[in-house]
């Protein structure tokens, strides 16, 4: 095999790997069901990649005894959280190890258990309560913004609420579709 052909194969394989990354997200963006989640943007950082906002969703921390489904999880487990629309935002209904059966007006979102707390600390010196919570990462906790705009989202003006419109595909994979401030689109992700 000559050198030119071998380099072409390297290019083809590496390009294919990158296209798979792009294709998976494009698939989710183009076929997914929109879901609006309440969020509190925290801790924007300026890395050499630019600014990004770290997103902390209401469903990032789940109180397990308030939800239906499976009880026992370990760090690193894959978790499916079934969501149901409640007024403006979607809320967690149950948690599962495997994708739950499809139910109308509900959708399962896939995540990974980051850590488990056996106790909850209410703060202000109050003693710890035996409430089991699990912290879940969904892979949509970062949102990159143009340089210098991270702080605007981090510190909304009084009365402003920030929420995220995700899309969830049939496999539970997610992608960020839009950032909403007071329900109005501030940043929108287009296909291309």
């Amino acid at each position: 095999m000559n050198l030119g052909l071998r380099i072409v194969i390297v290019i083809a394989l590496q390009t294919a790997a990158l296209l798979v990354m792009v294709g998976m997200k494009q698939y989710t963006l183009s076929t997914g069901t929109p879901v609006v989640l309440k969020t509190e943007p925290i801790d924007p950082r300026s890395l050499f990649r630019g600014d990004y906002v770290r997103l902390n969703y209401a469903i990032s921390r789940l109180q397990i005894d308030k939800l239906a489904g499976d009880r026992e999880f370990e760090r690193g487990d894959t978790i499916y959280v079934l969501l149901r629309q409640e007024a403006e935002f979607w809320q967690a209904v149950s948690v599962h190890h495997a994708p739950p059966p499809a139910v109308e007006k509900q959708i399962a979102i896939k995540g990974r258990v980051e850590y488990i707390n056996q106790q909850s600390f209410p703060g202000q010196g109050a003693p710890a309560e035996p409430i089991k919570t699990i912290n879940v990462k969904y892979g949509v906790e970062n949102y990159f913004v143009p340089e210098g705009e991270g702080r605007v989202l981090e510190r909304p003006k009084p009365g402003e609420t920030v929420s995220i419109r995700l899309v969830v595909d049939r496999n539970g994979n997610t992608a960020i579709k839009a950032v909403l401030v007071n329900g109005v689109e501030r940043y929108v992700e287009r296909l291309f």
Binding site: L3, G4, R6, I7, I9, V10, I11, L13, Q14, T15, A17, L18, M21, V22, K25, F48, R49, G50, Y52, E74, R75, G76, R112, K137, G139, V140, E141, N142, Y143, F144, V145, P146, E147, E149, A175, I176, E189, R190, L191, F192
Partner: protein
């Protein structure tokens, strides 16, 4: 050896070879012309500048686009990412074809591998992907490795190994959630070996061995394997046996024609790591378990638990199997005496380690004395082996560890026995005199090795 030195040596030797009939009369000039035409090998400075240039250029591209990212439409971003990747590889092809700029070509291949990784990160940014981030590094490493296989590039392989090392470190530091070692790294690591073997990539071999030793610290040190099973002393014993196995593997390599090139490198990494572990085992504090506050143990260590015992037996069996294999490979002619003494030493170490499994911290002092005796015997053996095989590295290593251990024993034995001022005065004199004697002896031996090499002794 540089080409000029090689030429000079060849010019000196060739008349003698011709006189002995090893080289045809008149062929000397042809051989010398041929060697001279090969040039000076790899011009390291040019290579270093090319690589540095590629690294700087790659970093510049990433930071430029990152800073201006928000203003560029998504489709254009993707076109830039893919275009830069294709351009780098296209330029590499141009430089490599007809071998007109091989060093630049290799540097451009490395640039391609760097851009592949940059593209992974920037696509993750374009699509706000925030998943299990070591996977991105793994993908990067695999991409560089596939490239290295296809275009037989050492710089790409070195990049793949460095990224594999980064991958396992990230997995262990951030995601070692279930208390087991990061075993998948071994699969990736094994994939580096055929390329190193086929193309004799020495820089890649060095990095691969460093990465493996680094990984082994994590793998051995992981809590889950040895959780609540007594003392970490046994863990250090297993470290020692595993590294000794690497050293023996290097000795075995020397007996195979196709592997002999790698023998010394593998031996050196193995013996260095083994000596560090053995040095730890000579400590009375570790043997008695009196470093409890630091190691999270009780004041006196307990006897070995079942996991430690099984692991020690497996490691001992591995060492014994390699030693026997080596004996089998070298048993044909008169076997050098140092090999027999090496086997005796391994046997004595094995017996002591086995006995130590059943001895608690109460016997720690005696066990430490036994380990010290074996350690110093081991240094003498290493010195002998180094002289026998003309390996200056082994001789130097033996002297360094000999001196270090002697000094350590002086400190932990006489710190409490002598008045402080006497302690420092005697210690200072010992250092000056001992350092002088050891250095003089070391120079004599290594100079002897150098002289034998010049004479072309076997």
């Amino acid at each position: 050896m540089g080409n000029k030195k090689f030429l000079a040596r060849l010019a000196k030797e060739l008349p003698d070879w011709a006189a002995r009939g090893w080289v045809k009369a008149g062929a000397e000039r042809v051989i010398l012309d041929h060697v001279a035409a090969q040039g000076n090998g790899i011009p390291l400075l040019t290579y270093a500048f090319s690589i540095l240039g590629v690294l700087l250029f790659g970093s510049g591209i990433i930071t430029y686009f990152a800073a201006n990212w928000g203003e560029i439409p998504k489709l254009i971003k993707l076109a830039i990412l893919f275009g830069s990747l294709w351009l780098a590889y296209g330029a590499a092809w141009h430089a490599l074809r007809n071998r007109h700029a091989p060093l630049l070509g290799q540097s451009l291949l490395l640039l391609g591998a760097i851009l592949f990784g940059a593209n992974i990160m920037l696509i993750a940014q374009v699509y706000h992907i925030d998943s299990h981030f070591p996977n991105g590094v793994l993908l990067w490493s695999v991409g560089a490795l596939v490239g290295a296989y296809l275009v037989r590039s050492q710089p790409m392989l070195v990049a793949a190994i460095a990224l594999g090392w980064l991958w396992t470190t990230l997995e262990f530091d951030h995601f070692s959630v279930r208390h087991y070692a990061h075993w998948p790294f071994l699969v990736l690591w094994a994939a580096f070996l055929p390329l190193i073997y086929w193309h004799r990539f020495r820089a890649a071999l060095h990095l691969a061995l460093v990465a493996l030793l680094w990984w082994s610290l994590n793998a051995f040190g992981v809590d889950g394997l040895f959780w609540n099973t007594g003392s970490k002393t046994y863990l250090v014993q297993i470290y020692f046996l595993a590294y000794l196995a690497v050293y023996l593997l290097g000795m075995l390599f020397a007996t195979f024609d196709r592997l002999a090139d790698f023998a010394r490198t593998v031996q050196r990494y193995g013996i260095f790591a083994a000596l560090v572990s053995a040095y730890a085992l000579t400590s009375p504090h570790i043997q008695s378990g009196q470093w409890g506050h630091m190691w999270g143990e009780k004041t006196l260590r307990e006897v070995a638990g079942s996991a430690d015992m099984v692991s020690t037996f497996v490691a001992l069996a591995l060492v014994a199997a390699l030693a026997l294999w080596h004996r089998n490979r070298t048993g044909g002619g008169a076997r050098p005496a140092y090999l027999m003494w090496g086997e005796v030493l391994i046997g004595a170490i094995a017996l002591l380690m086995l006995a130590n499994l059943f001895l608690g911290g109460v016997s720690g002092g005696w066990v430490a004395i036994a380990f010290n005796l074996l350690f110093f015997a081991g240094m003498l053996w290493l010195l002998y082996a180094g002289m026998h095989t003309d390996d200056r590295f082994l001789v130097n290593l033996a002297f360094v560890f000999f001196g270090l251990t002697l000094l350590t024993r002086y400190f932990d034995t006489f710190w409490t026995l002598l008045n402080r001022s006497y302690f420092f005065m005697v210690g200072g004199l010992l250092l000056i005199a001992g350092g002088y004697v050891l250095e003089r002896k070391r120079r004599q031996i290594t100079a002897g090795i150098g002289a034998r090499r010049k004479e072309g002794a076997p």
